[in-house]
């Protein structure tokens, strides 16, 4: 701290000036940087409190102001710990308000509703066989409705009456099914949409067949049976389905599980293609962006500066945003995602590659030239061995990063497992979501391990 020897009058004067404008006293006494910092700190704090915070936080700029007067009137500069402390306290409390930390909106029941299905990821299911039987029924009635009896492979299904309007009660029965087995009774409209027949039409009607494999029950024609019909007065065939399932031992991939696997594969492939595309562009660019090669004359140096600037700009744009652009240009799907990743990777890889080139050891080049080698031999034996291992290491590292990013670009339509994830979130299929989470974790951890092993060996 510089010594500020001064008379009492001068100290009083500087205190007075600092009281008028914070930092002025210090500024006049020669500590210009300190004076300006105090003024800026005070103004920023004042403005922040004015814009956002509770009036009580005016205490903070006031405290800084008081400290500033005290500092100005002291023969020696005081430690800045105190005003920094005031500033931080105010910054954190204002930050708290801005972020809107508020646990009162949290709901345990919602948390449970989300998390409980996630504990049972929908990935595999028990293998089972399906025994299905159906019978046609006409809605509404035509003048001469066909009989609602159907026989198939020793099974018989009937509906009485054989036709009726929406809301009509009907007696349905089936025989020849598996005995003592759970049976779902489902309505299907002419275009194949299933409709539930349970309580309030929001649950499945589930019954059990008797010892002979028969069951009989009353149903009502669903209120929504004719919703999709172009003309509700036109009689059409609907179906009543009887579905039985029984386990046959072993497990198989569920539908979602299959989708997750496909998504995972797509994601890894997207990252692979994106990285490969990036390498093709990054290698030539990296030579143009290597300082040691390009600083020879003003023209090449200008190219170097332009390249570096372009790469920095490109690298600062998140691939998620680039993906939005590519989704518009090439349409939804993994191709858009791969292109977005490639753009970002070109910039990142070109920078890493050019740093490798800048760090090349000129010694071996000179040694190989001294053996009478040609230019190409020199490149092959002195340059390539030096750059290939770090190039490979950086490329694998980039692929690793691209796999992570590929899961994210799916959110905006870039395809792969991210796309599946956002779809499952939309339909609130939390069991599927958790299967995706697990798949992403496995992919990322596996690739991370593999890539770091390989990189350890290379470098």
């Amino acid at each position: 701290m510089p010594d500020r020897t001064a008379s009492n009058f001068q100290l009083g004067m500087s205190g007075f000036l600092s009281a008028l404008i914070p930092g002025l006293g210090q500024f006049i006494r020669g500590q210009r940087y300190r004076g300006v910092s105090i003024l800026l700190g005070f103004l920023v704090m004042l403005a922040t409190v004015y814009w956002y915070a509770n009036p009580i936080w005016y205490a903070s700029p006031i405290a800084i102001w008081l400290w500033n007067i005290w500092d100005a009137m002291s023969p020696r500069a005081r430690s800045i710990l105190l005003p920094v402390f005031f500033g931080l306290i105010a910054a954190y409390s204002i930050g708290w308000r801005v972020v809107g930390i508020d646990f009162s909106k949290a709901s345990l029941s919602r948390a449970v509703a989300i998390v409980r299905p996630m504990l049972r990821p929908d990935f595999i299911q028990a293998k089972r066989e399906h025994n299905a039987m159906w019978v046609n029924v006409q809605v509404p009635c035509s003048p001469e409705p066909p009989t609602a009896i159907r026989e198939d492979a020793g099974r018989t299904a009937t509906v009485i009456p054989n036709c009726g309007p929406v809301g009509e009660t009907m007696i349905v029965s089936v025989s020849g099914m598996w005995p003592n087995a759970q049976t779902n009774v489902v309505w299907q409209n002419p275009i194949g949409n299933p409709m539930m027949l349970g309580e309030g039409e929001i649950s499945m009607l589930v019954l059990t067949t008797d010892d002979t494999g028969s069951l009989t029950t009353a149903i009502r024609v669903p209120s929504t049976a004719l919703v999709a019909a172009p003309d509700p007065t036109l009689p059409q065939f609907h179906r009543v389905y009887f579905d039985q399932y029984r386990p046959i031992g072993g497990y198989e991939l569920s539908y979602i599980g299959n989708e997750v696997l496909k998504g995972a594969l797509t994601t890894v492939a997207m990252a692979l293609i994106a990285t490969a595309l990036a390498i093709i562009f990054a290698i030539p660019i990296s030579f143009l962006a290597a300082r040691n090669l390009m600083s020879g004359n003003p023209i090449t140096y200008a190219i170097y500066v332009v390249m570096r600037t372009l790469l920095n700009i490109l690298r600062s744009i998140e691939s998620l945003i680039v993906a939005i652009v590519f989704v518009v240009i090439v349409g939804l799907g993994p191709f858009a995602g791969a292109l977005a990743l490639a753009v970002h990777s070109v910039a990142a890889l070109a920078k890493l590659y050019s740093e490798v080139i800048e760090g090349i050891d000129p010694g071996p080049i000179e040694a190989i030239r001294a053996t009478g080698a040609t230019w190409t031999q020199t490149v092959r034996y002195a340059v390539i061995p030096q750059i290939i291992p770090p190039f490979t290491a950086f490329t694998i590292y980039r692929w690793d990063i691209n796999v992570r990013s590929a899961t994210i670009v799916g959110f905006v339509g870039g395809g792969g497992i991210g796309f599946l994830l956002i779809e499952l979130v939309r339909v609130n299929n939390m069991r599927g979501v958790s299967a995706v989470f697990i798949a992403i974790a496995i992919i990322v951890i596996t690739l991370d391990t593999i890539s770091s092993r390989i990189r350890e060996r290379l470098v």
Binding site: G363, A367, A370, G372
Partner: protein, 253 residues
């Protein structure tokens, strides 16, 4: 016979590394170049195989003008001049045998060498060179897995692959533990006795006394001494290295 005539090198930065240096090197000599760091020793050695092009002056090898040689001829000249470096200049990530084989690049089919293919007899030659410097067992290790002394021996094996008539050694022991200096220089001495001319820059005076058949001293790019090693006494040493120089004896370390 190597004739260096009025050799001058001025770098683009304006530094004059060599000023009108002339001397002869007879076949079979062990010529040591001494001088402070920056006195032009490295530039001089690199001008001989034209890793650095001199600004003016000529270098004749027997009747060939090295300084005027076109690229193809220059490569033929270079392959007869082995070079050993202070920093070894091995490709650290490549195997020892690949480093040694690369000394043969001037002789083999360039296309096959680009593919990384080496005929069996060249591999045998490389193993023999490594045997001569006593590290045949390290042939398939990565070069940077070796100690400094071993790396320099790989450097000598690489130079041997060229079947050189001349070996240029640019401070071959300056990066090594002083106790290893003799082991490296003894290999060079051995090669010298087999008829290879050695031009070597050195720092330690007692190494100069022990190995040199003749000495050239440079100071600020100017040749300030040429003669036998015995002629360099303390007074001469101070003259070359300046008043503040203190002789360090490698043997005493």
């Amino acid at each position: 016979m190597l004739k260096i005539q009025n050799l001058t090198k001025t770098y683009p930065t304006g530094t004059q590394a060599l000023k009108d240096v002339s001397f002869d090197v007879k076949d079979g000599e062990f010529l040591v170049v001494i001088g402070l760091s920056g006195s032009g020793k490295s530039t001089l050695l690199r001008c001989i195989n034209r890793l650095i092009d001199p600004t003016s002056g000529k270098i004749f090898w027997d009747d060939t003008d090295i300084t005027a040689a076109p690229p193809a001829e220059l490569r033929n000249i270079r392959r007869k001049i082995g070079m050993v470096f202070q920093q070894f200049n091995l490709v650290k990530r490549s195997s020892v045998i690949t480093n040694v084989l690369s000394g043969r690049l001037g002789y083999v089919n360039p296309w096959l060498s680009l593919l990384g293919y080496w005929p069996e007899d060249e591999k045998q030659r490389a193993l023999k060179s490594l045997e001569r410097v006593g590290i045949a067992d390290k042939a398939y290790n990565r070069a940077d897995a070796l100690s400094g002394g071993q790396q320099q021996r790989v450097g000598i094996a690489r130079a041997l692959m060229q079947e050189p008539k001349v070996i240029l050694a640019d401070e071959p022991v300056a990066s090594l533990d002083p106790v290893l200096s003799h082991s490296i220089l003894q290999y060079l001495e051995q090669l010298n006795k087999e008829g290879i001319t050695v031009i070597c820059s050195l720092h330690f005076l007692d190494l100069v006394h022990r190995y040199a058949t003749r000495v050239v001293a440079l100071k600020d790019g100017i040749k300030v001494f040429e003669g036998s090693a015995q002629e360099i006494d303390r007074a001469k040493f101070k003259e070359i290295y300046g008043e503040e120089a203190q002789e360090v004896r490698a043997a005493s370390l």
